[in-house]
Symmetry: C2
Subunit: 308 residues, 2 copies
């Protein structure tokens, strides 16, 4: 699956993943109105609105991008109905040829981590039948519990050719509270990165490992150090756009070959119609066109990452 992701990035010349992290307040009024008309002001109604919103954005951008990253929290906040919309979104994006990175930040131990891996990346056998409960290609994993928490994911990844992105250095302001603490002369995030490189050796694709890392765009100087520690691990870079990262900050995350990183933008793309400079040009009815334009502009901006 890492091979497919790299292929998609090359073919579309876009190391870009669109974060499908919808809040109900992001959804244009006409979609909310239609959904409430059909299902009432219910969890089902809200989730129908979100699903239609996602579908519009996928339809308007799938030819430009290799992958989408639905953030499961935004669906889980609506309970079971939300998770139906999550699955529907994953399945639809997949039908459009996109790679699905489930931003689930799970992590537990032993059979519990394995259960998450099975649910999101694997298959479950019931009697004589086999089912794929959720259908992501990658998921994000929290490393705090150590190898016991990560290896069960890798076991499932080996069976399914799927992958993980391990949280190394997150994009938020307080990420340093624990992640930056010095241990034997280096920060914790570097120690996690060394484990990511080690875990990844065992599940290699053609050029990159099935095990990637999450490193926030907001910390480019750390990105440079981490790129060296994890040369064969793809870096998923959140924090571009709304969180403050720009194209020129992103150079350190890439390898010399222009590969090795994929940059996420969520609100910057999916809420483009609510933001400058798009809100002047696009009405809420044309929200998906605004998202398409925002992807095109992001692609242009990312070229700055490669300007020497």
């Amino acid at each position: 699956m890492i091979n497919q992701l790299v292929k998609g990035i090359k073919e579309k010349d876009a190391p870009i993943v669109v974060g499908l992290d919808p809040m109900l307040s992001y959804v244009p009024k006409h979609l909310v109105k239609d959904a409430f008309a059909a299902y009432g002001e219910t969890l089902e109604g809200a989730c129908e609105a979100i699903w239609q919103f996602n579908k519009g954005i996928i339809d308007a951008t799938y030819d430009l991008i290799p992958a989408v990253k639905p953030q499961v929290a935004m669906y889980e906040q609506f309970g079971v109905e939300g998770l139906k919309a999550f699955k529907k979104t994953c399945d639809y994006a997949k039908s459009k040829g996109l790679v699905i990175i489930g931003d689930i930040k799970r992590g537990d131990i032993g059979s519990t981590s394995e259960a998450y891996a099975i649910g999101h990346l694997g298959t479950v056998k019931i009697g004589e039948h086999v089912y794929s409960p959720f259908t992501e290609d990658f998921v994000t994993v929290n490393p705090y519990l150590g190898s016991d928490g990560v290896k069960p994911f890798l076991k499932v990844c080996k069976d399914t050719d799927k992958g993980v992105f391990i949280l190394v250095k997150t994009s938020n302001p307080s990420s340093g509270e624990f992640q930056d603490r010095q241990i034997d002369g280096k920060p914790l995030y570097e120690i996690v990165a060394e484990k990511v490189a080690e875990w990844g050796e065992d599940v290699m694709g053609e050029d990159y490992s099935y095990v990637g890392a999450v490193v926030g765009a907001t910390y480019p100087e750390m990105g440079a150090a981490l790129r060296k520690i994890m040369p064969k691990n793809y870096i998923l870079v959140p924090g571009y756009g709304a969180q403050g990262g720009t194209g020129k900050d992103l150079a350190p995350f890439f390898n010399e070959d222009g590969l090795g990183a994929i940059v996420n933008s969520s609100r910057g793309i999916i809420c483009a119609y609510q933001k400058d400079p798009y809100k002047e040009k696009f009405s809420s009815v044309d929200y998906a066109d605004a998202s398409r334009q925002a992807v095109l502009d992001m692609k242009e901006d990312l070229k700055n990452a490669f300007v020497k």
Copy 2:
């Protein structure tokens, strides 16, 4: 809600939480057969079997214990149908007067953590209507992202009088890989514990904070140190029984008043009928009676924690 948990522990004289972490292989054949007869060998069928299994255990133990801790991974592995069973289990246990600790180990940043908190502990407003998507009273939270990841949970907890247990030192063998690393002369888990104490000050119940900590029974000497760092934070102690912890290991986790800790047992209770010494006395049809006996025996064993 911490007050209700402490009250339940006192009234039932049982600092015990039963982990509802079902695998399909734990469910007695007669329940699986009935569920498959009704729903086929489907995700729905598997989840019906699990739900009936849980219901039997809740019915047989609710008068003895203050709380249950469903592990969401075990449900999530069955996708949307699994999450329906998770919700049904939480709702039913609550109807029996039990406190629900959702073992979800979530953690993200800002509005994303808030979305998890809303989904599991809070309410979501849709138009003029308010819904509670999932209905836990506490959830477990992963601290790797720092305060940005935890505080949105506390914001929701303040509104709802609910609480969290933050992962501090987990029960698994490799938990030391990152958690034990020395930072300024103390292990990372102590630094996390200091933050737990700090976060907890702002959301105090009568004697204990709404913010608790997870510390594995498998590390009693660390439990003693952590008990001192977090005097007002309840400690949720996994790792008893199947993972190797015993009653006499548990003394360090409690305060002088016999409070301050609640001990989880999952497989030791829910799979009792498959294990010694219960499998001789209880058939699989009487699995729930075996679970009841295992709770009674655990209660007895925990008294050893208080023998001076």
